[in-house]
Amino acid sequence: MASTLILLTIGLPWAGAVLVWLDGNRRPRLQNTLAVTFSLAAGAAALALIAFPSSQTSFRLPVGGIFGDFTFLADGLGILLAVIATGIGSLAVIFSIDYMRGEAELGRYYSLILFFIGAMAGLVLTSSLLLMFIFWEITALCSYALISFHNDDPKAVRGGIKALIITQVGGLGLLGGALLAFSSLGSYEISELLKNAHTLPQAALAWMAFGFLAAAAAKSAQFPFHTWLPDAMEAPSPVSALIHAATMVNAGVYLLARFYPAFEGVPGWKTAVVLVGVVSALMAAVMALFADDLKRLLAYSTVSQLGYMVYAIGVGGIFASQFHLLSHAVFKALLFLAAGAVIHAAGTRALGEMGGLGSAMPRVRIVFITGALALAGIPVLNGFWSKELILENGLEHGPVWGYTLMLLTAGLTAAYIFRGVWMVFYGSRRNTHPLHDAQPAMQVALWPLAVASVLTGLLSGPLGKLFAATLPFHDLEALTTRAILIDILEAPATWLATGVVVMGLAAWWFRKELAPVFRFFLWLGSPARNSFGFEDFNRAVVRSTQAVADLLRHTQTGYLTMNVAGILIGLVIILAILAWGG
């Protein structure tokens, strides 16, 4: 049964992708219906998987030779991410009905989204490292194609290529790690790696651990690979909500959580993970404070929140990180979709041209503020529970500097998101574009997410139980929801953090009175807007690559005989190495 459901979760979106594509943009209504039907069906299949959790391989597809067996497995981690991918995927598709109305090439749009949903489900449900890498790259490819969906806009094309190249660099780490695992264990099976990690040579394990960390950082837009995510905001808003907030960027965190038992013993690895998380969270929060584009603000906030999850893994809080992943997927998808509704109505993404939109779009205001409260970590919303759990883990098991900086980030988070809410919905109107509230299909997508932002904190108990039952290599204990929530409420760290959050809010509220203090920090503005020099670094890499390529051009003479001679020399060198080495 479980194997059928796994196949359906991956196969249904892909089947839908083919069908939508076959329509050839002749009947947009049919395309809408097909996309919604197939994504909802995949969501149902993923939800049904919850009833069949297992730590054993469900089915294997023998491929043979060096490719090993392609195996699938539905354990707690996989089911959680598959449900998020298909569930939020369905809502994003529903939202697109209104958001993308009248666009040409709906077929390309929907098939890429459906293709992505299937690949994302495959990525988290497979238990073969090689197959995981293949799905990993398919999601990157879909992300690239959807960022550049408006391919007559040079900014969109540039953003897509940037995302593809940077995630590709990290992907090499995953491929290298997978090949290394195969060469030392003779299998791509993830459970084999987790079981036998301590028998591997230290050097090989360290290479794998840091290769996977690079892959995760690139995919989850963490320091120093974070620069692609803000530029990916050229994608249509539902795509940003689905791929660049709720699912694909979580793949990095998923990877770290999945392999944590194998790598926790590698010297320096946990510290490196904490460092990556803390630097990303803090730096992105500062950049969000100075952002002047609504979607870029949310993108920086995503980097910052993913930093929280990475930090949680670094201090050993696997459950806390995945709990926050769930909360974040829900409230950030909500924020992005609500931002999409705002952008659809206001016709601009610039925060400076918004303001005073609240009275014309009351429903969007309510859901956006719900998401913002959850993001800031205000009590009883889901972000509160999961963020406090992370901070509690950090205080108990992590370094003090990490905890202090994350606490500061919590305050900054509250400040930047309320600056955003204020600039969009309150104050005086700064443009005269005719406004409209969220349309019906948009509301169908927004309300469930808003309700979920309030309630998913209650899922902590069942989620913990699912994890403890199906992840034999992770050292997890199952607590009831009640126990977890009371534990959070009774921890002094919680009230310290909530105090900092309230201070962040107050800092925004009393910004006029505090202006002299803020003026002291204004020097941060200009480096923050230039992403602290990382864009210059990227440009330097591109320029030097082009310079080297120009130099190497001279070796391409265009004479066939030279090429044959080159092949011969290469052959001789390889034979010499083989003779010498073996």
């Binding site: 391409q556 003479t557 265009g558 004479y559 066939l560 005989t561 044959v564 001679a565 011969l568």
Partner: protein
């Protein structure tokens, strides 16, 4: 040293391969290059059959050989078709004239 049948064949194969390789490196006429390529591939084909014979896997070697033969024919045909187009576009079959495509 006694000359066994396989070693005689091996010498033949290597000479054939060398002739083809020399052609690839030295000849400038595109048609002749394609002929040289064919000679190289035929040498490899013979080596394949010989290896199959020595290892006692004659059927496997034969089926692989046939596959190579078919694929190689396609290569030759496409190469010749390209040569015709090169002649049409550049007015010559000289390989060095092809370097003008680089710019």
């Amino acid at each position: 040293m006694t000359l066994s049948m396989p070693s005689i064949l091996l010498v033949g194969i290597f000479s054939l391969f060398g002739v083809g390789l020399y052609g690839l490196l030295a000849v400038r006429n595109l048609i002749k290059v394609i002929v040289a390529l064919q000679v190289v591939v035929k040498a490899v084909l013979l080596a394949l059959v010989l290896a199959g014979n020595l290892r006692g896997q004659v059927p496997l070697a034969q089926s692989l050989g046939l596959t190579v033969l078919v694929a190689d024919t396609v290569v030759a045909v496409i190469g010749l078709a390209l040569a015709v187009q090169v002649r049409r576009c550049l007015g010559t079959l000289d390989l060095h004239a092809l370097a003008s495509l680089r710019r």
